[in-house]
């Protein structure tokens, strides 16, 4: 996986994630939100603890 930073034409910090045969771009804020989601154990209800 490679991660590249870039700026939008309005100067917003953006992230490009290239993973295998797919690539996804988003704001850095969205990228940070997803990172937090991935690192937080998904145990908000009993089903996810299986």
């Amino acid at each position: 996986m490679t991660i590249e930073n870039y700026l939008s034409t309005d100067g917003v910090e953006m992230i490009l994630v290239i993973d295998g045969d797919k690539a996804e771009s988003m704001t850095k804020a969205e990228y940070d939100r997803r990172q937090a989601e991935q690192s937080t154990p998904i145990v908000t209800n009993e089903a996810k603890t299986k």
């Binding site: 870039y6 939008s8 034409t9 309005d10 917003v12 953006m14 490009l16 290239i18 993973d19 295998g20 045969d21 797919k22 690539a23 996804e24 771009s25 988003m26 704001t27 969205e30 989601e37 937080t40 998904i42 908000t44 209800n45 089903a47 996810k48 603890t49 299986k50």
Partner: protein, 418 residues
């Protein structure tokens, strides 16, 4: 002997003797009594709106009127076989018959990830060595299904040994959930198992949650999750319909449906289950299945509020949009989305091959192949702006078009999912 004109009760003739009057009256009275015993007594109607139903042959019973606006439906579980319930049984489950697969009709899912697969269906195989394939399948059954063409198949890949829980959910936005909170609702779906489905006893758990958050995805966390419907379906290789009824929490602000199971051992060639015809409705009876929109274009548009994927549609040189060259290496292109998305897309997804994309160059130069993949520049729920980068050859300020570079592999997905 004369008889009455309607019920043929015996009456004395005009010439009969008066001395036989008592017998004639008694005979006619008995005939009237016999007739009246076959009639529904007036006392059956107990109140305004009462109608006479039957609890069995020749057994009339009162059926009290329902609430304002309710209609009568057949329900074999009640004593009269009838029930009043609200007439509008809309189904809020988007892509409930697995008709829409914008991301492709066969999707590889890596262990421990939670991607969307068929539109609106998020799939999460927990743990390691638990890779799955999610695919569209024909139901091939018009006997046990009400003519539903497609199903979703959720298959642990052959040889996988992971036994982490596997979760499939379809979470509703709050705006679509509120009509179902604090009410008795019925959940129903059709399912069957593959020959090697490895869940113990062929069990597929199904739950309907309320949450107290807003617009959340239950596979990645659900505030205040309460499973008000929770049961287990025992699958066979033949399609069956399963139903569950319960009253949802009145404090819920969002609803999500979930299927889960725990695989075991090493996956065989057919370690899968299939589902389709998923329905949630107000009332205590599962009514015949219907999709959310009723038409394929309506269902597609409803799904495109959450995700839209531009594809070539078989035209390998198709253009996705037009715009203006910002510099010699950067073409800005606006894509007009077919449906207003529910929020500004949070990301776009494309292939990782830059050369799948191109920009229409200056007159005489033809198309310019992209040097990196298209990226999101400015998000908008109707007209997001994308950047197509090239190594050069563009003329700043000129108009452009951008799209696929002679390949049907090119696509651009706009993600506004929960």
């Amino acid at each position: 002997m004369a008889t009455s004109p309607n019920y043929s009760w015996p009456e004395p003739d005009n010439t009969d003797l008066v001395k036989n009057g008592a017998l004639a009256i008694r005979t006619m009275g008995n005939a009237i009594d016999t007739t009246m015993a076959t009639m529904t007594p007036k006392s059956t109607y107990t109140a305004k709106g009462s109608i006479a139903a039957a609890t069995g042959a020749s057994t009339p019973a009162n059926l009290s009127v329902g609430n304002n606006g309710e209609t009568l439906v057949a329900d074999s579980s009640t004593s009269t076989g009838l029930r009043y319930q609200v007439p509008v049984n809309a189904n809020p489950v988007l892509n409930s018959a697995f008709q829409v697969w914008q991301r492709g009709t066969s999707i590889a899912v890596t262990s421990g990830t939670f991607p969307y697969t068929a539109d609106r269906w998020n799939f999460y195989p927990n743990g390691a060595n638990n890779a799955h394939t999610v695919s569209r399948q024909a139901t091939n059954d018009t006997t046990n299904l009400p003519f539903i063409q497609y199903a979703g198949r959720f298959q642990r890949n052959a040889g996988q040994t992971g036994t982490g829980g596997v979760f499939l959910c379809n979470s509703f936005e709050t705006i679509n959930s509120l009509p179902y909170v604090g009410k008795t609702v019925t959940f129903s779906f059709y399912a069957r198992a593959g020959a090697n489905f490895s869940s113990a006893s062929n069990a597929l758990a199904y739950k309907v949650y309320t949450g107290t958050g807003t617009d959340q995805l239950s596979n990645t966390g659900y505030t205040g999750a309460t499973a008000f419907i929770s049961a287990t379906a025992t699958l066979t290789t033949t399609w069956q319909r399963f139903t569950g009824t319960a009253t949802s929490s009145s404090s819920g602000t969002e609803i999500s449906i979930e299927f889960s199971h725990t695989p075991s051992g090493t996956a065989g060639a057919n370690d899968y289950y299939e589902i389709t015809g998923v329905q949630l409705e107000v009332g205590s009876v599962a009514t015949p299945f219907k999709t959310y929109a009723g038409t394929i274009q309506g269902e597609l548009a409803a799904c495109q509020r959450y995700y839209y994927r531009w594809t070539t549609g078989g035209t390998s040189t198709a253009w996705a949009g037009t715009g203006m060259n910002y510099s010699s290496t950067n073409a800005l292109v606006m894509i007009k989305l077919p449906v207003s998305m529910r929020v500004n897309p949070t990301s776009i997804d494309v292939t990782s091959t830059a050369s799948n994309y191109r920009v229409l160059g200056p007159s005489g130069t033809g198309a310019v192949t992209c040097s990196s993949v298209p990226t999101l520049d400015t998000s908008h729920n109707e007209s997001p702006l994308l950047s197509f980068a090239t190594a050069g050859s563009l003329v700043a300020g000129q108009g452009n078009a951008a799209g696929a570079n002679s390949t049907n592999s090119a696509y651009i997905g706009f993600n506004a999912e929960l």
